[in-house]
């Protein structure tokens, strides 16, 4: 008797949890329905019509918009990849330096920097950064946008990278040092190849963030032909300022796909290792 009743309770609980889980799943899914179906509906409005005739006409029109395609295929990749390469390299060097030298209070410094980068952020720091970039003549250039974004993402990137650098066995590096290799050579030929997973995780994390960044390029760039996709997204508005919904839907999908694919790759290869050291 007891086993039977216990078993039934378990089944009921299981079904209840599953139901609750799908209620939550719907909460997350509903706002995305429009984003999933409208790109393929050439009469798309703000409401979702799932059964409309599927069509690729919207994509054709987006492909004809030169500035939007330039944003997607040229400017976003330049800004994203540029930010990724510089941040990853600088963070790897810094993590190596922090990990392998006897600098005082290294734990505290990374913590202070993380805190600092969460505090000096967003619109608050954009006023002096705007003026700084304006004064050194990098306003309306990709390099200006890239440098600003590298500065903002470095503390977190160093923080994530440290876990990986700390995991490299010292014996390899010490052996190389005994053989007379310079510190730079040790970093380049031993540590750097061994922290490849860390470089991937940090790199993709930076790339996803830079790909989605709106405020920094919006404020620091002026010419339409330099704007990344996050900003050219707003090109699909007609003269009265109403959105051309069909084109926005198709562009949104094209713009999002790279990020989703990158997420799938990182999840498949490494799982989510973003939270290695997070614990107060």
């Amino acid at each position: 008797m007891t086993t039977r009743s216990r078993k039934r309770r378990f089944t009921f609980r299981y079904v209840l949890i599953t139901l609750l889980a799908y209620v939550i799943a719907f909460f997350f899914l509903l706002p995305l329905l429009w984003f999933i179906f409208s790109p393929f509906n050439d009469h798309a409005t703000l409401s979702v019509s799932i059964l409309a005739n599927p069509s690729l006409a919207n994509f054709g029109e987006v492909l004809d918009n030169d500035l939007a395609m330039r944003g997607l295929l040229v400017n976003s990749p330049i800004i994203g990849v540029g930010t990724m390469l510089i941040t990853t390299l600088v963070a790897a060097l810094a993590a190596f330096g922090l990990s392998r030298s006897r600098l005082p209070g290294r734990q505290m410094w990374t913590y202070v920097l993380i805190l600092f980068s969460s505090v000096v952020v967003g619109t608050a720091s954009m006023v002096p950064i705007f003026r700084l970039i304006f004064e050194i003549g990098l306003i309306n250039t990709h390099i200006g946008v890239i440098l600003v974004m590298v500065g903002g993402m470095l503390p977190s990137a160093i923080f994530i990278m440290q876990d990986f650098v700390d995991g490299v066995p010292r014996s390899y590096e010490e052996a190389a040092m005994v053989m007379g290799a310079s510190p730079m050579r040790i970093f380049r030929d031993i540590t750097f190849p061994l922290i490849r997973p860390g470089l991937m995780v940090v790199g993709i994390w930076v790339l996803i963030n830079a790909w989605g960044a709106f405020l920094t390029p919006y404020l620091l760039l002026r010419s339409p032909e330099l704007m990344p996709a996050a900003v050219t997204f707003y090109r699909f508005y007609d003269e009265e300022g109403s959105p051309q919904i069909t084109l926005i839907a198709a562009y949104a999908l094209l713009y999002t796909l790279p990020v989703l694919i990158m997420y799938l790759i990182i999840n498949w290869r490494y799982g989510f290792r973003f939270f290695g050291g997070i614990k107060s």
């Binding site: 949890i17 599953t18 609750l20 889980a21 799908y22 939550i24 997350f28 706002p31 995305l32 429009w34 984003f35 409005t45 703000l46 409401s47 979702v48 600088v90 060097l93 810094a94 922090l98 392998r100 030298s101 006897r102 600098l103 600092f116 980068s117 969460s118 505090v119 000096v120 952020v121 967003g122 619109t123 608050a124 720091s125 954009m126 006023v127 002096p128 705007f130 590298v150 500065g151 903002g152 503390p155 010292r170 040092m177 996803i208 989605g212 709106f214 405020l215 996050a230 997204f233 959105p243 919904i245 949104a252 713009y255 999002t256 989703l260 997420y263 989510f272 939270f275 997070i278 614990k279």
Partner: protein
């Protein structure tokens, strides 16, 4: 020879590029904001090249008691921000994230994958895209109202009639994945034997949550609340959904600072607003640090 492989100068050499970036793009802006907040600097005109020292005038303007709580002023914006942070950060993201993590703890398979994938998709899709998707979702004839119509309710124009509720829902949806991932990786480090023992002793679900899971999650909860409070406090994404309106009802502090400093190019006043924001950020961080330290001292 555990830590001292590089001499201190060589170590610093490896750190140099990072130090330069952080000095130029984090430390310099901080001091620049501090200094500018006492001047009447603007983008163009006489005050652009020869700004004058105006003492506390910008701060006095921001805290002017006649204006302070009017729509579009700082006090009003802070009030909106507090509701936004409590609603979407502390209650929305942290509680929903914890709920999902606990609900699907020890579950494997399809259901868990579906929930996690959708939550993470909401979290990583770029700002401008989710903002527009939500604009369509909440439109008078959008998905939400179509659903409500189907069960016989005529939905309102959400962004016009309930703008603050709308951005709270939006931000909850947007960010819950972070807490969910943080808590579920924390939960996976709790030995299953503890829960099994509780099962044998006949503990209820609530008892198991309160006496086993919650105490071990507390340090993670503090970290989560700290990060989420800071992020929600500083997020600019609601701007893409409402622009701070209608009539300043969603004028959260980041939108306020943006409007003063970068749309009107009143750098002096904008910097003063930014200083206030950063001081509040520091206060939030300090409170959490104090709480976590006093917890550890007791333990």
């Amino acid at each position: 020879m555990q830590r001292g492989m590089l001499s201190r100068p060589v170590g610093l050499l490896f750190l140099a590029p990072a130090i330069i970036f952080i000095a130029v793009f984090l430390v310099y802006p901080f001091f620049s904001i501090f200094q500018m907040s006492f001047t009447n600097t603007t983008l163009v005109g006489v005050n652009a090249t020869n700004p004058q020292f105006v003492g506390m005038q910008n701060y006095v303007d921001l805290f002017d008691s006649d204006q302070w709580m009017r729509r579009g002023e700082m006090g009003f914006s802070l009030l909106v921000t507090i509701q936004f942070v409590i609603g979407s950060g502390l209650i929305g993201q942290a509680v929903l994230g914890l709920f999902i993590a606990v609900l699907l703890h020890n579950r494997r398979g399809f259901t868990r994958e579906v929930v996690f994938t959708l939550a993470i998709a909401a979290w990583i899709i770029p700002d401008v895209v989710v903002a527009f998707a939500w604009f369509a979702y909440l439109a008078p004839d959008g998905t939400l109202n179509n659903l409500l119509n189907a069960i016989g309710i005529t939905g309102p124009d959400w962004l016009f009639n309930y703008p603050l509720v709308s951005i709270i829902l939006f931000n909850t949806w947007r960010g819950a994945a972070f807490s969910m991932l943080l808590f579920s990786s924390a939960l996976s480090s709790i030995p299953p034997s503890q829960l099994e023992t509780a099962d044998v002793l006949g503990a209820s679900n609530w008892q198991k949550f309160r006496d086993i899971l919650l105490p071990q999650l507390t340090p993670y909860i503090l970290t989560d609340l700290l990060l989420i409070t800071l992020w929600t406090f500083n997020t600019f994404t609601p701007f893409l959904l409402t622009g701070g309106g209608p009539s300043y009802q969603t004028d959260v502090i980041s939108i306020f600072t943006y409007r003063i400093g970068l749309r009107f190019f009143e750098f002096g006043k904008g910097s003063a607003a930014a200083m206030v924001v950063m001081i509040i950020n520091l206060a939030i961080a300090s409170i959490y640090l104090l709480v976590s330290r006093s917890r550890r001292a007791r333990a």
